[in-house]
Symmetry: C2
Amino acid sequence: MRTERDVLERIERARRRGPKLRENRITAAHGAGGKATQTLIEAVFLDAFRNESLEPLGDAALLPLGTERLAMTTDSFVVSPLFFPGGDIGDLAVNGTVNDLAVAGASPAYLSCGFILEEGFEVSDLRRIVESMTRAAKRAGVTLVTGDTKVVGKGSGDGCYLNTTGIGTLPDGPELGVHKARPGDAVLVSGPIGEHGVTIMLARGELDIEAELESDTAALNGLCARLRAVPGLRAMRDATRGGVATVLNEVARAADVSVVVEENQVPVRDEVRGACELLGIDPLYVACEGRFVAIVDGAHAEQAVETLRADPLGEQAAVIGTVGEDPPGTVLLNTTFGGTRIADLLVGDPLPRIC
Amino acid sequence: MRTERDVLERIERARRRGPKLRENRITAAHGAGGKATQTLIEAVFLDAFRNESLEPLGDAALLPLGTERLAMTTDSFVVSPLFFPGGDIGDLAVNGTVNDLAVAGASPAYLSCGFILEEGFEVSDLRRIVESMTRAAKRAGVTLVTGDTKVVGKGSGDGCYLNTTGIGTLPDGPELGVHKARPGDAVLVSGPIGEHGVTIMLARGELDIEAELESDTAALNGLCARLRAVPGLRAMRDATRGGVATVLNEVARAADVSVVVEENQVPVRDEVRGACELLGIDPLYVACEGRFVAIVDGAHAEQAVETLRADPLGEQAAVIGTVGEDPPGTVLLNTTFGGTRIADLLVGDPLPRIC
């Protein structure tokens, strides 16, 4: 098992090797959550901002503040289109920030929101977004406490970009983190994967198919709180940009373990599978906005699945794999057809501006 | 003196009168910090997000969290150009968020930052911004603890937009707020005004003049902490979008008092005055990023000025006016030429994308 110190030392070694960013200009891949994003973060941001609180491997930073322990997380949202089946940029932003706190083991409390609006944006659309944020905040039990609005000229934005930043309290309990995974642990997902990403793509009209599909955007703080009560919980991670496969690669690298996934155990709706086949992409890399990956001591895997399934948001939760020793840092996929292949980080993402 | 309850009731009455936003589309004025921004906030955001913590009149929301009292604030930055004499979007963002916490009476502790990058943005420029943020955070004594990066396509952004959200602790002490102003109070500014706004405009090449001028961007938490020790301090407010005149209108409205400003007491550098004359704008409406307005019991005004002047960031602090009774809700300007005029909120702002 790696400690946080090991992780920080690894980053320090990477830093000493010097910046690895080869590109001179930002590309779409830098925002896609895959290998290119990771390189950008390590070569530019971690190097400069380097401090113990900056979460190299967490969804939220864990902070002492007075006598309390806080979690803090930030996310900007540039999803296109702004409105899609099952949600819009407003509830996506609220849920996304709530989830980053929840999977870090925190109880989300307060959210800020910053709007960057393009001149000419319809006020009625802004109202829809704001109302959707309000409903999502109410459902998640968080309060939107402070905001900011900026306007940029026509052609310098794309309607509406949003930032939501959230803070929450950290209840007492064992420390969670992907670096805590150890051989023998079970790998769970909280429900069927890839619905958000495929819904966005269909909403863009990029695929000439119709499907009864909605984004899975949802606040997971209730579900995460239930799972926190299960003994042997090591880590939770929401599977957004880069999907489940990207999360599992982070687990494998942070804990220096292997992760073995049984493809036929991964819950995927037929509509998602069908669309992914047409596009030649693997649902394991498609973003969810209401699902998370959990790593749990194998002895408690059954209890964890039952706990998740007792909640409507987790009713299709499943064990999809196990943590092993070799090869360390690697995700292996036992395919439905009987083969085994490496499921590495992608450089970019087949689906830009998914959140 | 108005209490917070009065303020909330006033908002409730405004809400019952129904939304007052007449435009169907967002215009530049909605982002300028003046009357149009205020209408947008009241008609769209306050109406939907309405809760006791949302700061109708503060720079930061004041929040209970466990046993602590926190302040939280958010700001997006879309300044153009990204680099200008005296600073760049990076230190502007850090200082701006630090200042919003500081003027609310809080001790800034942690910052998040969210980047929205346009495809094609130079990585070297990103590095400059990140390094500038790091230096500004160090100077201000705050830690950048969590971040996020999104990339949008060419033509859907303008290089780099930033969001910084900050949290800090609230030390014990008397409650501050612009609604606390009362007749007999003194109105102070912490230094010469308008330098940031004019610097940005000159950097855009919109004026065919050269001036030895730099943005006043600076972290004011040290200066604000000094002033908090002065008895009779009622409120502090940083004079960003909309400038000093906009802050004073907020004071007059929130406290239901008049504010009388002596134009010849307002510290303005010759270069700023000259540029403003050429543009036909009043320096009182031009954004600062390192100056604040303070309202102090008249009996302690001298001590307050001396306290500010003891710090290099406040060495040109001055009393610029007084709080009166009539006409309530109004800012009056006694001009250098002996006349008196009303200094109302502007609808928009002569200088878009100033921060």
